[in-house]
Subunit: 220 residues, 2 copies
């Protein structure tokens, strides 16, 4: 196959990276298949050809694209006759706000819930030391501290979801009447959280769960 997606893999082949989920959701929306090539955190040499160190990396014929936002824009521009991920230049601009909100507000709230479970259950042994040391430094907290503070991190994450919660009482999708990349960039974060540590966070959030499940179901 001429198209490959390099994506993060944990123990037992679990593919939990939210940024890789964004790329998978975007490919599925466009109806495009790709061979999924697993990379561990410490397998950076496998994607050295991309000129940088992070997954996802999409190889599409001669094109090499890294960064989930760049992949979405590449797919939209390279396959204009497939279903639109954005729906015009203004929609793309505003969708980038949603993408940035998910990166800068939602992801930091969720990582405080997710990290203890990743460390306990989902790391390839080769990745353990690298992951723990980089994440503890980034968050300024040990895994044990995060676990002890879980109740307050659950409340904080639910508070970050306020705009999504309220919006979904008013319209079907973040993107309007049909799902689009503004949905995918957000739901990818909640899919990551669910795969790693389950449904406690959204136990009382039926509308958000149904929205999430309908979106994720589109991915083969």
């Amino acid at each position: 196959m001429a198209r490959q997606l390099y994506e993060l893999v944990g123990a037992r082949d679990l593919r939990f990276s939210p940024f890789c989920w964004r790329a998978r959701l975007a490919l599925a929306h466009k109806g495009l298949e790709a061979e999924r090539i697993p990379c561990r955190f410490t397998d950076k040499d496998r994607i050295a050809f991309s000129g940088q160190e992070k997954v996802p990396v999409l190889v599409d014929g001669d094109e090499i694209v890294s960064d989930s936002w760049a992949i979405a824009c590449y797919l939209e521009d390279a396959y204009p006759d497939r279903p639109a991920l954005f729906g015009g230049a203004n929609a793309r601009g505003i969708a980038r706000f949603v993408n940035t909100w998910a990166d800068t507000r939602l992801a930091p709230a969720l990582v405080r819930l997710v990290m203890p479970s990743v460390v306990a259950n989902h790391l390839d042994p080769a990745d353990h030391d690298y992951f723990v040391s980089t994440r503890e430094q980034r968050l300024g907290k040990t895994v044990a501290e995060l676990r002890a503070e879980r109740p307050e991190h659950l409340q904080a994450a639910l508070a970050e979801l306020m705009p999504l919660r309220q919006l979904l009482t008013q319209q079907e999708w973040v993107n309007g009447e049909t799902p689009g990349y503004a949905d995918y960039s957000t739901v990818a974060m909640l899919q990551w959280q669910r795969l790693v540590e389950g449904d406690e966070l959204l136990a009382d959030e039926r509308r958000i769960r149904e929205w999430r499940d309908a979106l994720v179901e589109q991915v083969p």
Copy 2:
């Protein structure tokens, strides 16, 4: 004139309501004029004809529209030949996310900074008791407590601005290459904060200040 905008007014005719600023920005974007009719918090009888108790209320010929989001949608649909506030159905859907984010995350962070100044400097005397009692109840804090906690509320507000700060390093406007309602629904909150209590919050945020000032300048 056949078009009127009922808007909130404080002491010395200051028009600080962010929701009324949204309507003014939307009217200016469409190149539409409106007679601006001032209402105090306790002048609810002046807008009783609208069937509800909140400004802004737009009267456009026979049409009566309240709620800033509804006003934006009304203007977009009633004046399709004027410059677009959204730019398509998907852009409208996603802009509502930004609008909801501004309502549910940005405004609650800013109100903690703004309220002590509104009470001290900007209320019509007739509104004072109504305003203080409703706001203290809503926030669960006294005005004196909010003033004492100002340093932490400044930090919290700056943290809420993360998505906007990062996005504006990547593109000119929230709406993409031209400003639109996704910009207006956000900047209205920062214009409210500035009018009431000045530029301390954005002292080190030159890019956000320039974005704000360019948008607000469009309003006659």
